[in-house]
C-alpha cells in the first residue's frame, strides 16, 4: 500500500500540507483496468470498438486528529506530491468531510489522469 506507507511522510497534497494529523481508516483502489465499448452501425454489425483504460482512482478514508483541517489540507483539484513512489501525478477529485459528536472523518478520492 504505497499511499498508506507514504502518507504523512512522503505523500503531500495541496500546497505541501503535512498529513500527519490523520489516521488512515482504509484505502480503496479502483480503476486502471482496460475496458471496451462496441459501437454498432445501422445494420447492427460492429462499426467501431473502443478500447480504453479507466483512470485509476484511490479513495482514502481518514480520521482527523486534533488540529487537522481537511478543507485546506485537501483542496479540490489540487495535486498530490510524493517525494518517493508513483503518486506525484495524482489529483484530488473528491473530498467529503463527515462529523460525529467526537470526531471528523474525511474521504479523499485521488485520480491519476496520466498528466503531470
Amino acid at each position: 500500500m504505497a499511499i498508506l506507507d507514504s502518507l504523512g511522510t512522503s505523500l503531500l497534497v495541496g500546497g505541501q500540507a503535512s498529513l500527519s494529523g490523520y489516521i488512515v481508516e482504509r484505502q480503496e483502489i479502483d480503476g486502471g483496468e482496460v475496458d471496451q465499448e462496441d459501437i454498432m452501425n445501422a445494420n447492427g454489425s460492429l462499426a467501431t470498438r473502443l478500447i480504453y483504460r479507466r483512470h485509476p482512482t484511490t479513495s482514502l478514508a481518514l480520521i482527523c486528529a486534533v488540529g487537522a483541517a481537511p478543507s485546506t489540507d485537501f483542496p479540490f483539484g489540487s495535486k498530490a506530491a510524493a517525494n518517493a513512489g508513483s503518486y506525484s501525478s495524482w489529483f484530488v477529485q473528491d473530498v467529503r468531510t463527515e462529523k460525529t459528536k467526537s470526531a471528523s472523518r474525511v474521504t479523499v478520492t485521488l485520480i491519476s489522469l496520466g498528466i503531470t
Partner: protein
C-alpha cells in the same frame, strides 16, 4: 471486571436508580416525550427548579399508563409540597437529587454515534436535521419498535430511550443507512484523540 461501555452495551446494561427514595423506571420514550411536551428544562434546556425536579421524578417513576393517569390529574400539589419537605429533611436537599436525576438521564441518553456529511469539495452541506420527518421523532421510534420488533404500542412507549435508539439504528442500517460509527472507527477516533493530547 472492567468492561468497555459503548452506547450499544450500555443500552442493555444500564439500570435505573432510586432517587429520593423513589424507584425510577428506565428513562423511556414516554418519559422523554412527556417532559418535552411539558417544556421541562430536563428535556428542552434551562435551569430546573424544585418543581421541575418533583414533576420529572413523578413522571419517570411511572410507566405509560401511570403517566396517562398523572396527566389526567393524579398529581396532588399538596402531596408534592409534603414530599419536597421530606426530601430536604431525609436526602440532604435538592442539589443531590438533581445530580442523581441528571446522571440517570445521561445514562439513558448515551446513543450510537453517526457520521453526518458536512462538506463536499469545499462546499458546506446544509444539515438535514429536522427536515426529513414531521411527526415527533419518538413516534417514529415507536412505529419501528412496533412494526419491526413486534412490540405492542404500550411496550414501545415504555422502551428505554437508548435501547429504542439502538434498535432503530440497527433497523436503519439493515435498510441501507451507512452513517453509524463502527467499533473499528471508534478505536481510530480514540487513537486520534490520544494523538491530539500527546
Amino acid at each position: 471486571m472492567q468492561i468497555a461501555m459503548d452506547a450499544w452495551f450500555q443500552s442493555l446494561m444500564v439500570q435505573p436508580p432510586r432517587i429520593c427514595g423513589l424507584q425510577i423506571r428506565p428513562f423511556s420514550l414516554i418519559h422523554e416525550y412527556t417532559l418535552r411536551k411539558l417544556k421541562s428544562p430536563y428535556a428542552v434546556g434551562g435551569a430546573p427548579n424544585v418543581g421541575d425536579l418533583l414533576l420529572a421524578l413523578q413522571i419517570c417513576a411511572r410507566d405509560y399508563r401511570g403517566i396517562v393517569r398523572l396527566m389526567a390529574g393524579d398529581f396532588k400539589p399538596g402531596k408534592a409540597i409534603l414530599w419536597a419537605w421530606w426530601i430536604k429533611r431525609r436526602y440532604g436537599g435538592f442539589d443531590t437529587a438533581q445530580r442523581s436525576f441528571l446522571k440517570y438521564m445521561a445514562n439513558y441518553s448515551e446513543l450510537p454515534e453517526h457520521l453526518e456529511l458536512v462538506e463536499v469539495n469545499g462546499q458546506k452541506v446544509p444539515s438535514g436535521v429536522g427536515e426529513s420527518v414531521r411527526a415527533p421523532w419518538e413516534f417514529h421510534l415507536v412505529r419501528t419498535l412496533c412494526h419491526s420488533y413486534r412490540m405492542n404500542h404500550e411496550e414501545a412507549w415504555n422502551c428505554p430511550l437508548s435501547l429504542a435508539k439502538c434498535d432503530f439504528d440497527c433497523w436503519s442500517e439493515s435498510n441501507g443507512d451507512k452513517t453509524l460509527v463502527s467499533e473499528y472507527q471508534h478505536g481510530l477516533i480514540a487513537e486520534a484523540a490520544g494523538r491530539g493530547a500527546a
